[in-house]
């Protein structure tokens, strides 16, 4: 009885998903379109005459941007982990004075609109002379992930049994030793979640890139696409091919690390 009732639901589910993902399909379809077919009305709904010229354009024009985005992403992950994991260990297990206000500040920090941070960073970066550098973007992008990272790590580390940490202490391990050889190894899941999101947010950032690195020699892929749209708005196959390539980290996340994604979305929002 169960299967007979669930088959129509599966069909409805597939139709809904197809409808929802139509823009993604369309991006792929247009990325394979010949330039001459681009203005065709009605457009080809299927890539019947696929061309890879759009992707060749990506290889020719966008590789440096992709490399910069990769570097910014990795730098952001490293900075975020280095700052947030120790703080969470303290908040979860060492019970510092002022821990509660700090958690409150971290929650509020997530609410600050990016444009405000961008303007503040712009005036600071200009004074310090690090405007238009890729690693300046590492600093700015990490602000998207650090509060999230501390909250995720704290939630997880609070669940590590106190006995485990007491046992390490009894064996003579100092707090740093306990952190490095007990707490961090068991925190593999939140490390993956925080790293993935920090990378994804840095990779996707547009507002910091367009304000803090608009004239730099090393720019991320979001600016690569943005300039593409501005410069040659006839060759949408190239633009969409770049968009497809820029979506690879998201696709990777979905296929390889799906359970971490849902954990990241719900973390902080819903208390279990």
């Amino acid at each position: 009885m169960k299967t007979s009732r669930s088959t129509p639901k599966t069909v409805i589910g597939v139709v809904l998903t197809a409808f929802m993902l139509f823009p993604v399909y369309w991006m792929l379809n247009v990325s394979l379109m010949r330039t001459g077919d681009m203005r065709r009305d009605p457009p080809y709904l299927l890539p019947l005459h696929p061309t890879f010229s759009g992707y060749r354009a990506v290889l020719n024009d966008q590789l440096p941007y992709l490399g910069t985005s990769l570097a910014i992403g990795i730098g952001t992950v490293a900075l975020t982990l280095a700052v947030s994991a120790p703080a969470a260990y303290s908040l979860a297990k060492l019970r510092p004075m002022g821990g509660k206000p700090l958690t409150f500040i971290l929650l509020m920090a997530q609410m600050i609109p990016g444009i405000i941070m961008a303007m503040g960073f712009y005036s600071i970066f200009l004074n310090v002379g690090i405007i238009n550098t890729w690693w300046g973007l590492v600093i700015a992008d990490s602000t998207l992930a650090v509060p999230f990272g501390v909250l995720i790590f704290t939630a997880f580390m609070s669940g590590i049994p106190d006995e485990l940490i007491q046992a390490a202490k009894l064996d003579g391990a100092g707090s740093w030793r306990t952190f490095v050889s007990i707490v961090l190894p068991v925190s593999r899941n939140p490390i993956v979640t925080v790293s993935l999101f920090a990378f994804l947010w840095a990779w996707s950032d547009f507002i910091f890139a367009s304000t803090l690195n608009s004239g730099g020699s090393m720019q991320p892929i979001t600016l690569g696409i943005y300039k593409y749209i501005g410069n040659n708005n006839q060759e949408w196959n190239s633009i969409m091919a770049t968009a497809v390539v820029a979506s690879i980290p998201a696709a990777f996340l979905l296929v390889v690390a799906q359970r971490y994604v849902a954990a990241g979305v719900t973390a902080g929002a819903v208390k279990d």
């Binding site: 120790p86 609109p113 941070m117 712009y122 996340l253 979905l254 929002a269």
Partner: protein, 317 residues
């Protein structure tokens, strides 16, 4: 409240210690703070200081030259007065309100419907649910440029679909009537996954036997939804809506990439206006731009406070 919790904790720790012998020394406070030091320094340098600089920007008369030299004269609230008197101000406020309310209403309604639908475990349900996350994971510029092309007046697939139903072409991005609708449409699409995931996890926490009892009592699925699902989901709904509000208020990329707030001011919101003032032209108005940003932050913070208050009262129940 934090005092009472600390008071409860301390004896617990000490009983543990005495049970295992007196050898475990309690950590001095400064060690706990040593681990917090990086994040505290980080927050001061990369949150508090930019926010302070932004506030400073909004209270001074900055030009490109004084931006570098840093000797802009203090003008008090003149930037705010200038912003309030600007003909763009009220349209931007109204567009922001429409953008936020309409986006959230649709995101929430569609997200809830999908969450209820996916709460029935059918074949492929978890795979399909995962695929629904795609719009949320894609970089904004990818979604925004894809929607731009789909909504293109002449060659866009959306107008093709409208024509197929006998409807005329719509100038989604180039007519002042439709530009706000267009960016809201794209933003709803991006926000559905977030609502779906959070509401779905809320539904998962409702015990199955409640639904079983309702169906034994002969409740229709609408009655079940109305009298069981919706009331029990209320805390999660409130959190979803409040977070959605804050996130939607922040939206900048999608509007800027699709319409740049135009044509005219027809899709300008407070975020895009702030960006436009500060960075959108060759002659930047950093002061007014920062002033608009500071207005935005006040609204966001109020919502943030509501959210935190709500969440902690839920957690203590």
């Amino acid at each position: 409240m934090s005092n009472t919790r600390a008071a409860i904790r301390v004896p617990r720790v000490e009983t543990q210690v005495s049970a295992r012998g007196p050898r475990v020394p309690r950590l001095p406070r400064f060690i706990a703070w040593a681990y917090l030091a990086p994040v505290v320094i980080y927050l001061i340098a990369f949150y508090a200081y930019p926010l302070y600089r932004n506030l400073d920007l909004s209270l001074r008369d900055y030009t490109v030259r004084s931006f570098v030299s840093g000797d802009a004269p203090f003008i008090g609230l003149d930037n705010f007065r200038e912003v309030f008197a600007d003909p763009t101000f009220w349209p931007a406020v109204i567009h922001t309100a429409i953008f936020v309310v309409v986006s959230i209403a649709f995101q929430y309604a569609i997200g809830l419907a999908l969450a209820v639908f996916f709460n029935n475990n059918f074949r492929l349900s978890s795979t399909l649910r995962a695929l629904f996350l795609v719009p949320w994971l894609l970089p904004m510029i990818v979604s925004a440029s894809t929607w731009s092309w789909m909504l293109n007046s002449d060659s866009g697939v959306v107008n093709t679909a409208l024509n197929a139903f006998g409807l005329p072409d719509i100038n989604w991005l180039t007519s002042p009537t439709w530009s706000l609708v267009a960016v809201i449409l794209a933003n709803i699409w991006i926000g559905i996954p977030f609502n779906l995931v959070i509401l779905y996890s809320g539904l998962q926490n409702i015990p199955d036997n409640l639904f079983e009892a309702a169906s034994l009592d002969g409740a229709s699925s609408w009655q079940t939804f109305r009298h069981i699902t919706l009331p029990l989901l209320r805390p999660v709904s409130a959190i979803t809506l409040l977070l959605g509000f804050v996130y939607t208020l922040k939206v900048f990329d999608i509007i800027w990439i699709m319409t740049r707030g135009g044509p005219g001011n027809s899709s300008t919101t407070l975020s895009t206006w702030s960006y436009e003032l500060g960075f959108g032209s060759l002659l930047p108005h950093f002061g007014p731009g920062a002033a608009v940003g500071n207005l935005l932050i006040i609204v966001a913070m109020l919502c943030g406070l509501l959210y935190i208050k709500f969440q902690s009262s839920e957690a203590s129940r």
